[in-house]
Every structure is written in structure tokens, then in C-alpha cells.
């Protein structure tokens, strides 16, 4: 029996992100939280959504969340599997993808992402895994959704490295670089939903999840938080959404021997 009043901030984040996806989307799925959201969307309101993982699997429908972006289940359930060069050349660069879904280690108010290093690039304090597909996902997909948990360590005033471009310095910076895609249009965290201001492109809070206060928003964010004048409350998860997510995670945990997939 699903207890609807007792959902975690992480579950709310995944479900809020899932709701932003539709049947017609062709979604390039990054590793981490995005994968769970995309598959919840597919298992609830968007059964025909096309999910693409950078390993080359197109139109995949995994029964459990993959641990890596190249798990066998992605290939077995895909419409087709192409080589990695073809994936990046024809499908991503070719403009076939409507939404790129990214996670982040560090994020700034304009949706620029760092997953490369903490500290100086040549003398890093912490060497992170790096960008993988993100630099081109961020500029070749029609738009980009970002999802991460709010912390002052993750949401910072200035990122240490520009792994992938969001809105750069804000305003029309993307256009000035000759980029025609929209960039980040949505940020979904465990506490709220953010959208870029139409002019400045700075992320603005448009909806807070149930029970979240403005103080908590500011305490978990490294830049001065701006709130929309028409601030809403995110509808809590429905029974279908929560059950679908929990069952997916239970299947995943069983399949991977105790480790939750991403």
C-alpha cells in the first residue's frame, strides 16, 4: 500500500521531472537522476516517449533502471542500437533530440554545469569524472532539463569549470555564440521547480514542493534566490506516480543486488 502523505524530497524531484516530459519527446538521457525521471514518465503518462542513451540505444524501454548508460537491458529493449559515432553525429548533432536531460555536480544561476573538477583544472582539489556527452548535449538538443538536489555545495555563485554551457553570462549569450537551441528551460530540484527569466535567463523559482519554505530555498542555494511573482505549490505525487517509481526502484534494487540504478 502506497503511503501518499509520506514521500521523500527525492521522490518528489523525480516525479516532478517526469511530469515535464511528454509522449512526443525524444529525450537524451544522462546518467543519474534523469534516468529515473524519464522512465517514470514512460511508465505513467508518456508511454510513447523516445528515450535515447548515449551508448547508442534508441527508443529503449528498460524494465529496471540501468546502473550504467550501456547496460544490456537498454539494448535488448531498444528499437535500434547504433554505434557511438553515429549517435553523436546523426542523432545528437543532426538535431533529432528534443530534450537533453542532465545532472550536475556544480550548477550556477544560468544553468551552466560543472562535472569536471573542483578547484583549478590543472591542479584540481577533486578530479570529477568529466563531461562525457554533456558539452554537445547542452548545445545540440532543442532544450535542456537539469535535475539535482539542492545544496550550497552544488548550487554555487560561480562554478569552477564550464563543462557544459547553459545561458553563459545570461541574457542572449547563447545567441551571441551562434547557438540556436534554447538551452536550459527547466531546473527540477528536491525542493522546487525553477525556470529561466525570459530576459536575464537567471533561474527563478516558479513552484515549491509541499512544505518547503523560502528560507529553506535560500539556505540550500549558493546564489540569491529569486522567486516568481506567481509562485505555486507543486502538486504532491499521485498514487500512480509514487507506486510506479517505488516499484521501479524495487525491481532495480533486486536486479543490481542492492544498489539503486541511476
Amino acid at each position: 500500500m502506497t503511503n501518499l502523505s509520506d514521500f521523500t524530497p527525492n521522490e518528489m524531484m523525480t516525479i516532478a521531472a517526469a511530469r515535464a516530459l511528454s509522449n512526443d519527446d525524444v529525450c537524451f538521457v544522462g546518467i543519474g537522476a534523469p534516468s529515473a525521471a524519464c522512465n517514470v514518465a514512460r511508465l505513467t503518462h508518456a508511454p510513447d516517449i523516445t528515450l535515447i542513451y548515449e551508448s547508442g540505444t534508441i527508443g529503449t524501454a528498460p524494465d529496471v533502471l540501468p546502473l550504467s548508460i550501456g547496460d544490456g537491458v537498454l539494448c535488448e529493449t531498444a528499437v535500434t542500437t547504433v554505434s557511438v559515432p553515429e549517435m553523436f553525429r546523426y542523432w545528437l548533432q543532426g538535431g533529432r533530440i528534443s530534450i537533453g536531460f542532465l545532472g550536475a555536480a556544480q550548477l550556477d544561476r544560468f544553468g551552466n554545469i560543472n562535472t569536471t573538477v573542483i578547484g583549478d583544472y590543472h591542479k584540481p582539489q577533486v578530479r570529477l569524472p568529466g563531461g562525457g556527452g554533456a558539452p554537445e548535449i547542452a548545445t545540440s538538443c532543442q532544450e535542456v532539463f537539469i535535475t539535482l538536489k539542492q545544496t550550497t555545495r552544488g548550487m554555487v555563485d560561480k562554478i569552477d569549470f564550464y563543462t557544459s554551457l547553459g545561458h553563459g553570462e545570461g541574457g542572449n549569450h547563447r545567441q551571441r555564440l551562434g547557438i540556436t537551441t534554447k538551452g536550459p528551460t527547466l531546473l527540477i530540484t528536491d525542493l522546487a521547480i525553477w525556470k529561466p527569466d525570459p530576459e536575464t535567463k537567471e533561474f527563478t523559482v516558479v513552484s515549491m514542493h509541499r512544505g518547503v519554505t523560502r528560507d529553506r530555498m535560500q539556505d540550500t542555494c549558493g546564489w540569491k534566490v529569486r522567486f516568481s511573482e506567481r509562485l505555486e505549490e507543486t502538486p504532491p505525487p499521485s498514487e500512480l506516480e509514487l507506486t510506479t517509481l517505488r516499484e521501479l526502484q524495487a525491481r532495480t534494487e533486486k536486479a543490481h543486488g542492492g544498489k539503486k540504478g541511476s
Binding site: S55, L67, G72, T81, Q93, R127, P129, F161, Y162, L165
Partner: protein, 281 residues
């Protein structure tokens, strides 16, 4: 013309100190057994090329074989960071390594350019991205027809490519199935190639006509190593050993634990141990 030989002979004949070497396999079909043989033979000053350095590059780097690493994502997939590679970058242990970092798109394009015999790859990439400011091998070209500025990186031309595949036939043709990654491009871009396979069959007469097959005259050496991708997987043969990837996070966290593990499981072992490791997966 593909030569069937033991993995030990194949590595000894094809890989030299100072070579640029690609071990490819995008999560799937990662040539672990081949990397372990290279570690046993103690090759030095290698330039390692790989899109997603994971456990095998952690092992090669941690054992001090690498001088330089060219890569686009250095993580333990689904688990976390690569601790031996980090230790080399952050603390020069066991030696300092040079890094040349790209995006996946750049690496994939660079292999394709290598296979196509071109000097460089041209693609729409790195726009607004920080890597082009820290990696001097990322440059740009202007399209002579439209004036669009495009990214350019040098083609990958490894001395040797190592891959793992499902099967070879008696003639030496090699079949790669499932997530095919960038292996075909890596083999065609390289001067020499070594392929480990799960199985050797008589012929490929019953296969679909458009499968990914490397003709025998594109492959230098083939070694029969069942289970040779473990803890990665071979589509149609065995699943990914996710528990081993998670365990690596602990083994690699400590220099002494790592060294002891490498002695027991790599230096004092041989390619024949891989078959038992994939039983039940």
C-alpha cells in the same frame, strides 16, 4: 590476415613500450583480459586512449604503465569516481600522468576520422565549453561554404587497438553485437589490432547480412578468451557483474589494498581465470 594465437603471444607481438593504445568497449565488451595481460607484461610509457576509462584504466594507471591518458569520461559507471586515476592526477601516484580531455562527441569523431584516413575530425561541438580553453588539441575551422565555425580535433591513430567480441570464425572474421560502441572505428583507425573472443565458430553463414563484422584482413591477432570482458559483459553470453564494479570502489580506495588485489588477481593469474568469473552471471 588475422592470426590465431594465445593472448600472451598477441600482446607480446603487438604492443611495445611507448605505444599509443586504445582499449575500447562502451560499458559493453570491455577487453579486461587483454588489459590484464598487458599489465603482466609490464609495458611502459603507454598513451592510453579510451572514451570512458573505467576499471581497466584505473588498473593500468595504478600499476604505473601509463604516461598519458586521452579520454572523455573518467568514472566508474553508476558507482562514482576512478580512484587510481585521481590519485595519479592529484598526487602523482605511482607516477605523474599527462591528460588530454575531450567530450564523447570529439572522441567518437576522432576515431571515425582515424578510420576514414583523415588527419582531423570536424564537428559542431565545444561551443561555450571550458575544455577548449585547457586542451590545446581542440581547435576550430571555418566551413568554406557557410562560414560556420566548427570544432576540430586530431584523428585518433593508435598503434594498437584491443577489443573484445562475441565470436570469430575459422577464417578470422570477427562479429560484434549489441552495444557496438566505437570498436569498429578503433580497429580501423589503428595500425594493429588484437581481438579477444568468447567463441570461435566454423563460419558466419547463418548471420544476418548487415551485422557489424570486421573482416579477417582488418584484424591482426585473435585470442580465444571466454569471459574476457568480465566484469563488463558480453551480450548473448553473460551479464555485467555490477557487484564487482561496486567492490572496485573499495579496492581502489586504498593503495595497499589495490596493490595486493592486483598481485592476486592479475599478476599471479592468467587469461584462463576469466571463464570461471562469469559463471552464473
Amino acid at each position: 590476415m588475422a592470426k590465431f594465437q594465445s593472448l600472451k603471444e598477441a600482446v607480446a607481438e603487438n604492443l611495445r613500450d611507448g605505444d599509443a593504445v586504445a582499449f575500447e568497449g562502451f560499458t559493453h565488451l570491455i577487453p579486461h583480459a587483454a588489459a590484464h595481460e598487458v599489465i603482466r607484461q609490464g609495458r611502459k610509457d603507454l598513451t592510453l586512449i579510451r572514451m570512458t576509462p573505467d576499471i581497466i584504466y584505473d588498473q593500468l594507471i595504478g600499476m604505473g604503465l601509463a604516461r598519458k591518458v586521452i579520454f572523455s569520461y573518467a568514472g566508474n559507471p553508476g558507482v562514482g569516481l576512478l580512484r587510481r586515476m585521481r590519485d595519479a592526477i592529484e598526487n602523482n601516484w605511482p607516477r605523474a600522468i599527462e591528460t588530454e580531455e575531450h567530450s564523447h562527441a570529439a572522441m567518437a569523431n576522432a576515431y571515425e576520422a582515424g578510420a576514414a584516413g583523415l588527419p582531423c575530425a570536424v564537428f559542431r561541438g565545444y561551443r561555450g565549453a571550458g575544455l577548449k580553453d585547457v586542451n590545446p588539441m581542440i581547435k576550430s575551422v571555418t566551413c568554406p561554404f557557410t562560414g560556420e565555425e566548427l570544432a576540430a580535433v586530431p584523428a585518433h591513430r593508435p598503434d594498437v587497438a584491443f577489443i573484445h567480441a562475441q565470436k570469430a570464425n575459422r577464417r578470422g572474421d570477427v562479429l560484434v553485437e549489441g552495444i557496438v560502441g566505437v570498436q569498429k572505428e578503433a580497429v580501423l583507425a589503428s595500425k594493429r589490432s588484437v581481438v579477444t573472443v568468447e567463441e570461435i565458430v566454423e563460419d558466419f553463414d547463418d548471420l544476418h547480412p548487415n551485422l557489424c563484422v570486421l573482416p579477417h584482413w582488418t584484424v591482426t591477432s585473435i585470442a580465444h578468451v571466454p569471459g574476457g570482458a568480465h566484469p563488463s559483459y558480453t551480450h548473448g553470453y553473460y551479464d555485467r557483474d555490477n557487484a564487482a564494479y561496486m567492490e572496485w570502489d573499495k579496492i581502489s580506495a586504498d593503495r595497499d589494498l589495490f596493490t595486493a588485489w592486483m598481485r592476486e588477481n592479475v599478476l599471479d593469474a592468467g587469461p584462463e581465470v576469466f571463464a570461471a568469473r562469469v559463471k552464473g552471471l
